[in-house]
């Protein structure tokens, strides 16, 4: 078969899927947030300061994990479960490359959240946008870590997003126990340390540096690369008709 073998030929369709799925949802939530803060800024202007930076930080601290789960949850397992992979991957398109493109587009959608939110807040508050280099870097690291975990789990199970959500929530809760000095036995602490460092995801904090930065980026990259290698070598089918 000859023809267009450009590796990016299907990317516009994938971008459209991301825009019409998670993208629309993110836009609706951002619009609601902007509307709420516009109302608050009108009625309570002198009671407490509402700044774009404050809203950005609090919003992203709360929703970063959920946003990534919405953007890439079920990325591989959904197609495998529904049987779509049979039509998609009978075509000359490497599986790992297809899902890498889809994953990156999901990441772009997540990265656009602070940008669009900043623009919206600037519009409704009249000043500031709250977008900083640290915020963007932390969101990118957050996507790499959570998105990498989802991609890896998605190769095996349809519950990828649920497992990441539960583990991330438990892991972050556990980190706060340790921070306040609650007694924790050594085995539990070791298990916690072996898990992806979701507790480092704090978009509102200064940019990660040194060992925590390496830990988060290294873990995220490793999960992503392992997922892509598995997609390269592991068949998608699980049975004759599955």
């Amino acid at each position: 078969m000859s023809g267009d073998r450009s590796p990016l030929r299907y990317a516009p369709w994938l971008a459209r899927d991301v825009a019409m799925g998670p993208g629309v949802l993110f836009l609706v939530v951002i619009a609601v947030v902007c509307a709420v803060f516009w109302r608050l800024s009108q009625g309570a202007q002198n009671m407490f300061p509402i700044t774009a930076e404050l809203i950005q930080v609090n919003m992203l601290n709360s929703v970063i994990i959920i946003a990534v789960l919405i953007a890439v949850g079920g990325i591989v397992s959904g197609d495998a479960h529904n049987g779509y992979y049979r039509a998609f991957f009978s075509k000359p398109m490497p599986v790992w490359w297809y899902y890498l493109q889809r994953w990156i587009l999901g990441g772009i959608a997540v990265m656009l959240i602070p940008v669009v939110l900043g623009l919206g807040l600037n519009l409704v508050l009249g000043e500031g946008h709250g977008i900083t280099a640290a915020l963007m870097a932390n969101v990118a690291i957050g996507f790499l870590l959570v998105g990498g975990a989802v991609l890896l789990l998605s190769v095996f199970t349809r519950r990828d997003w649920l497992i990441v959500f539960v583990v991330a929530t438990a892991q972050r809760a556990f980190a706060s126990f340790i921070e306040v000095g609650l007694p924790v036995n050594e085995a539990t602490k070791m298990a916690w340390q072996a898990l992806p460092p979701f507790h480092l995801l704090k978009p509102g904090s200064p940019m990660l540096e040194g060992r925590p930065l390496l830990h988060a980026v290294g873990y995220g990259l490793a999960m992503t690369v392992i997922a892509l290698v598995l997609l390269r070598v592991r068949p998608l089918g699980s049975g004759g008709r599955a």
Partner: protein, 302 residues
């Protein structure tokens, strides 16, 4: 072009470690220019065989090669025109969009894609369903969409799994015409089907599977007339006493003038000659069971 060499697939349950041999010791070569049929009862291993060929499963024994390469790298490099038994596509995609997306994935160049989609929609009778979403299609129309997407690229390997599943008789006939047009010297076409009549009409060779094993391969020449049973179905206008010439002949209940006769070709010719000489008017005389049907029955009873 495609070589199965002692290929096998065993599924092992994770918890109980129970093993199921879906396919065992399958060896066969499929050459360019051939149409190969795969027949077998439910659970015979047809779908597993196709999943192995597409690289959606890895064999647990033996090997499969397409032009000397493992199936998945070959499919990812060249593409296969593949119609699945159950056509699964995202339900909200509209019919032309589904075809355009899959033609894009198949590597149809952007400047030719629209024309290719229009051609496929016309060829497979999908034009009147252009405004529908995939989820709104009937079984037969979905099957035609599945066939259209399989033909979107100009693949050297075409794999059709139960291609006439859900098609009405008119489209079943048109499907046969489409497959006949697909035949070319540098292409291999693999058709898995329960429909022996379909395989008999289309395939050069038919591999009969049962219980995960290749029972036999029937060549086209051996499919048309049964060498073993020599049962014939004959019918005449009016009430002709066939049993007067051939005492073993039995009337077909509910069909006036129709008989089933067991005889060699020579005996049948002689009997027909006698009856026609006596003024009988022949309506039909066909083998009651084809060689393929006969081989299939024998294979699954073994």
């Amino acid at each position: 072009m495609i070589a199965f060499n002692d290929a096998g697939k065993t599924y092992t349950a994770v918890l109980t470690r129970k093993r199921v041999d879906a396919l065992t010791g399958f060896t066969m070569e499929m050459r360019r220019g051939e149409v190969i049929g795969i027949a077998g009862p439910n659970g015979a291993g047809k779908s597993t065989l196709i999943s192995l060929l597409m690289g959606f499963l890895n064999p647990t024994a033996g090997s499969i090669r397409i032009d000397g390469s493992a199936p998945r790298p070959w499919v990812e490099a060249h593409g296969v025109g593949y119609l699945t038994e159950l056509v699964n596509l995202p339900p909200r995609w509209k019919v032309p969009q589904a075809l355009e997306r899959l033609a894009n994935l198949a590597g149809v160049p952007a400047n030719a894609r629209r024309a290719r989609v229009d051609q496929l929609m016309t060829q497979l009778g999908l034009v009147e369903h252009a405004s529908k979403q995939v989820r709104q299609l009937s079984k037969g129309n979905l099957q035609r969409l599945g066939l259209a997407q399989a033909l979107a690229g100009d693949a050297d390997v075409i794999v059709l799994d139960e291609p006439t599943h859900g098609l009405d008789p008119l489209w079943t006939q048109r499907f046969r015409d489409v497959v006949a047009e697909l035949r070319r010297p540098d292409r291999v076409i693999v058709i898995a089907s329960h429909n022996l009549d379909e395989l008999e009409r289309l395939a050069d060779r038919v591999a009969i599977l049962n219980k995960g094993r290749l029972q036999r391969v029937v060549e086209h020449g051996a499919m048309t007339v049964s060498p073993a049973s020599l049962a014939w179905r004959v019918a005449f206008e009016g009430d002709v006493a066939v049993d007067a010439v051939m005492p073993a002949a039995r009337r077909v209940e509910g069909r006036a003038g129709a008989w089933v006769v067991e005889a060699s070709r020579t005996e049948m010719s002689a009997a027909l000659g006698a009856l026609l000489g006596a003024g009988a008017v022949l309506v039909e005389c066909v083998p009651a069971e084809s060689g393929l049907a006969n081989a299939f029955r024998a294979a699954v009873q073994e």
